[in-house]
């Protein structure tokens, strides 16, 4: 059982969190976005082995945040609110 640091609520059990995807996956707007760019946004993932920067949501408080962690050792490296105003 991993412990994740919610920037708002502090350290909590992994079961309270939901994975939200790669951090920095910027949505391209418009009906005329090149389809490859759109498919890239929708489907392609970095999926790193090692350090990952990811979006997570703490389902209890409903806040999304950015967490850096190691996908092999499961060590948590940092977490911060989306706007960067809180860090844990």
């Amino acid at each position: 059982m991993q412990i994740f640091p919610c920037p708002f609520c502090g350290p909590r059990d992994e079961t309270e969190f939901h994975f939200g995807g790669d951090a920095g996956n910027i949505r391209p707007d418009g009906a005329d976005v090149p389809i490859d760019r759109w498919a890239d946004y929708l489907y392609l993932r970095t999926n790193p082995k090692g350090t990952a920067r990811e979006i997570w949501v703490h389902m209890n408080c409903g806040e999304f945040f950015v967490m850096e962690r190691d996908t092999v050792s499961h060590k948590v490296l940092s977490s911060a609110a989306l706007g960067g105003e809180h860090a844990a």
């Binding site: 992994e14 890239d40 392609l44 993932r45 082995k49």
Partner: protein, 417 residues
């Protein structure tokens, strides 16, 4: 020296102290170049090499395995073989695998213990029965041996299920495939390895890919922990590690890697004949020929490359299991483990040429790669041999993500997402 496996050869070897057997596969030093390289010595990779040699007469082939063959998801899954799929494209793919499985022991001269004792996917409500009917009808139209089971039918194949009137997930019926069942997972890897090796394929273990050799925009070989190995046709079948190799080759894949756990109870005398899946309980279960209750559930919900189980998912899965079969409450958990699976948005595999010409993909099988091994091998072999898709693999090309033509079995079950 005894080469062929049979009851007679086993008997003769018995008289001779079992000393005449040969290595199941050779372990040669890697050559500097091959006609084709297959990265990944799991079921899919070994099957690819075997079919390259058998179907296409391409025998200068190396299978490069980072660790020991069959040590990834091939040796970590719950061994279910089935082809009860909804969309015609899936039925063609998994149907091919299923048919090949049915002849595999004789084809490989290796008993993979395909045990077709049937599988039932339970329906727990009227709504699920309606979807069940939709699914069974689609399967029957597509030629799958599916039946819509009544509660009495379910009771016949799984009498120890919780049929009590206050069960949390009562049985309204189920989707049955009689040809479904299990196979011995390790034997599939070893059987393909042995058969491929005898056709001339080099199986190189402890050989990790460190980089791709790219010349003129094409993949021309690989750098490995055992030196450079060149080939103009390279296939990769590395499941949960596909993204890692893709990064080395300079592209990204629509894949997230997750741990999928499984566990077994201590072995007990036969009590459960078929594979039973309960969507409500989130569990599928069978009993191995050794007597262990083999238990599988959903993914761990955290992307991971750590091949180990965790407690929360285990607890959820076991709670579901005991809801299905309360009398398993007297059993004990003997072993838990996890594999790293490659989860694709539509949960269908990716078979086809990668964005790096010369490098071909067989990945994205997610939680269901074992059952597809013979087909994955056949289709990747054809791609490597001819550079062209088989009609069966064409719909599973990477290009479907841009065209939007996904093959999402869950979507067919009415799940919007």
């Amino acid at each position: 020296m005894t080469r062929r496996y049979s009851a007679l050869s086993l008997f003769k070897e018995g008289l001779a102290g079992q000393t005449g057997w040969q290595p199941a596969w050779r372990s040669p030093e890697p050559k500097p170049s091959y006609d084709a390289i297959v990265i990944g010595g799991g079921g899919h990779g070994l099957a690819t090499a075997y079919y390259l040699a058998k179907n296409h007469n391409i025998t200068r082939v190396a299978v490069l395995e980072k660790g020991w063959i069959g040590g990834g998801n091939t040796g970590r899954n719950t061994t279910v073989v089935r082809s009860n799929y909804y969309y015609p494209e899936s039925v063609e793919l998994y149907g091919l695998a299923h048919r090949l499985y049915e002849g595999l022991a004789k084809d490989l001269n290796y008993n993979v213990m395909l045990s077709q004792r049937g599988m039932v996917n339970l329906c727990h409500s009227t709504a699920e029965m309606e979807i069940g009917a939709r699914t069974v009808n689609a399967m029957q139209i597509n030629g799958v041996d599916a039946e819509l089971f009544s509660p009495e039918d379910v009771r016949r194949v799984a009498p120890i299920y919780n049929f009590s009137p206050d069960a949390r997930f009562p049985v309204f019926g189920g989707i049955w495939q009689g040809r479904a069942g299990t196979a011995r997972h390790d034997a599939v890897a070893w059987g393909y390895a042995r058969a491929a090796s005898r056709l001339g394929v080099d199986i190189i273990q402890n050989c990790e890919i460190t980089d791709f050799i790219i010349e003129g925009g094409r993949c021309r070989g690989v750098q490995t922990s055992r030196g450079a190995i060149r080939a103009d046709r390279i296939g990769m079948a590395v499941a949960g590690h596909s993204s890692v190799l893709a990064a080395k080759a300079g592209f990204r894949l629509p894949i997230n890697s997750y741990a999928l756990q499984a566990c077994v109870s201590e072995p007990v005398k036969p009590i459960l004949d078929t594979v039973v899946l309960s969507p409500g309980c989130g569990v599928y279960v069978s009993q191995s020929d050794k007597g262990e209750i083999v238990i599988g559930g959903g993914l761990d919900r955290i992307p991971s490359y750590a091949q180990r189980g965790n407690l929360p998912t285990l607890e959820t899965v076991i709670a579901g299991l005991l809801e299905m079969f309360p009398i398993f409450g007297q059993l004990k958990l003997m072993r838990q483990w996890a594999g790293i699976v490659d989860v694709v948005p539509d949960s269908s595999p990716i078979i086809g040429e990668s964005p790096l010409p010369g490098l071909f993909l067989n990945c994205g099988w997610g939680t269901g790669g074992f059952k597809a091994i013979p087909a994955g091998g056949t289709l990747l072999a054809q791609l490597l041999a001819s550079g062209k898709h088989n009609d069966i693999s064409r719909p599973f090309d990477l290009d479907r993500f841009a065209s939007g033509r996904l093959i999402d079995e869950a979507a067919g079950s009415g799940i919007a997402h």
